[in-house]
Amino acid sequence: MYVAVKGGEKAIDNAHAWLAEERRGSTDVAELSIAQIREQLSLAVNRVMAEGSLYDPDLAALAIKQARGDLIEAIFLIRAYRTTLPRFGYSNPVETGEMTCDRRISATFKDAPGGQVLGPTFDYTHRLLDFKLAAEGEVPAAPKAQPREETTPHITEFLKGEDIIQDEPACDATPGDLTREPMEFPAGRPLRLQSLTRGDEGFVLGMAYSTQRGYARNHAFVGELRIGKVAVEMDIPELGFAIDIGEVELTECETVNQFKGSKTEPPQFTRGYGLVFGQSERKSIAMALVDRALRWEELGEDNLGAPAQDEEFVLSHADNIQATGFLEHIKLPHYVDFQSELELVRKLRREAEKRITPREAAE
């Protein structure tokens, strides 16, 4: 039986009108501006840019406002918007070694050239609620010191000399792009990194944590974590040379992992890599751990059957827009499907009752 129904337009219109009113909240309270969200909720803006896979702080702030602070809904809005943009091209790979670092730390090398620069971190705060923030007030200016002029080299560069860390030789292979071609497995490292950097922070964090708890353990240290701005350069055909087309803030994490060697590789340190739009420290460390776990085959390690080693499992479930789309669709009308389920269960139930009743009568 198939029953086509229509209706609900008026209810939907009214629901949207109420949504707009609820989004605004009490009109006794001043309305949030996009600039306020961009400046004062910048880490939420960063997350929306990273997982929405579009670097544009004003758009991310608008999406957060429209989504009433539901970040996955905001990411959904950004993903929808980015599909409307004509693709001008691909940038040259960003030079993270040239980054102007706001923060740069290493858990492994105390005396790294360039130093341990903490930046605006939560790390050493006491995680006690600061009730001063509940009242408005002036913020004292942050202290200044003599700024570093030169760029800060990557820490892994210093290990390379000794040949005890796995190298990342440069190459110019054109990477696959999952926004253009559907993902196929095995995906390979460039596509894995693209998928992880736009993956759900919670999911990638959970996967990374599982490797620390022993599911495909690969003891990781943060060799280096840096946050700052890098220029983005693109070749412009009509000019015949490359120009900077802007500047993005990035968080980069390189893990250094203990590695006793395998059938194919000598004992050395191996590396996991995380690179994420904005100041997104947790995400980039998690990305690096999951990247390292997924490299088991390339490094000749055993497949321990851990979830974080399973490329298909990790990449197919990392995207929160795919996930929430499929998850949330089950709340939309499924009247016809359910009607047939109902008929089936009723029929089975009648048959089961027939089988049971005669026996009861016999007893």
Binding site: P86, R87, F88, G89, R180, P237, E238
Partner: protein, 191 residues
């Protein structure tokens, strides 16, 4: 009169001009034998207005374009690259190929798609001296009874149709006139 440069000759109003041209391209492909007029681009010689307008409408940085024979000039390359960003390629890699029938060469060098992805084939834009609703008799999807179109080489196009669902698709351009022949069209009688 504005100053002319190697970058002149694009759409004045890209969204509107491209939408009109796309509508025409879709119509002629859906109704083989129909001829529509398209304009908007002022491409460098020897590209026709119709072929230039079609290229600006259909090409972007992800479509490889093959310029056949006399069309492959520095000026045409620069114009196409500036307005579409499309990479120039050899015939076997092309998504679009443009040129006269003779210069486009044998059809076998173009991609005809794969059984899984028949769409991964080349669309040829054939520059013609003339384009008329006369000549070869066409039947098939999008044609009510029969249609006629002046085709450059019936045996080769028939062989292409025999590859269906694989094969190439064709646009024919002459001045500002545009027609098309998809691989699904049967060519019954030579004109």
């Amino acid at each position: 009169m504005s100053a002319q440069t190697q970058f002149s000759g694009g759409f004045d109003n890209a969204p509107i001009d491209a939408a009109h041209a796309f509508r025409a391209a879709m119509t002629v492909m859906a109704r083989p034998g129909e001829i529509r007029l398209i304009s908007g681009a002022q491409p460098p010689a020897p590209l026709s207005v119709a072929a230039g307008t079609l290229l600006l409408t259909l090409c972007d940085p992800e479509t490889r374009v093959h310029l056949a024979g006399d069309l492959d000039t520095g000026t045409v390359r620069q114009w196409l690259t500036f307005h579409t960003g499309a990479p120039i390629s050899e015939a076997p890699e092309a998504d679009f190929a443009v040129g006269s029938w003779q210069e486009l060469g044998p059809l076998s060098q173009y991609r005809s798609g794969t059984p899984e992805y028949p769409d991964r084939s080349t669309t040829l834009i054939v520059e013609c001296d003339d384009l008329q609703q006369a000549g070869a008799e066409l039947t098939g999807p999008g044609i009510k009874d029969t249609a006629r179109l002046s085709l450059p080489n019936v045996p080769a196009l028939r062989a292409n149709a025999a590859l269906y669902p694989l094969g190439c698709d064709f646009f024919f351009t002459s001045g500002d006139r545009l027609a098309a022949l998809p691989r699904s069209t049967q060519i019954r009688v030579e004109g």
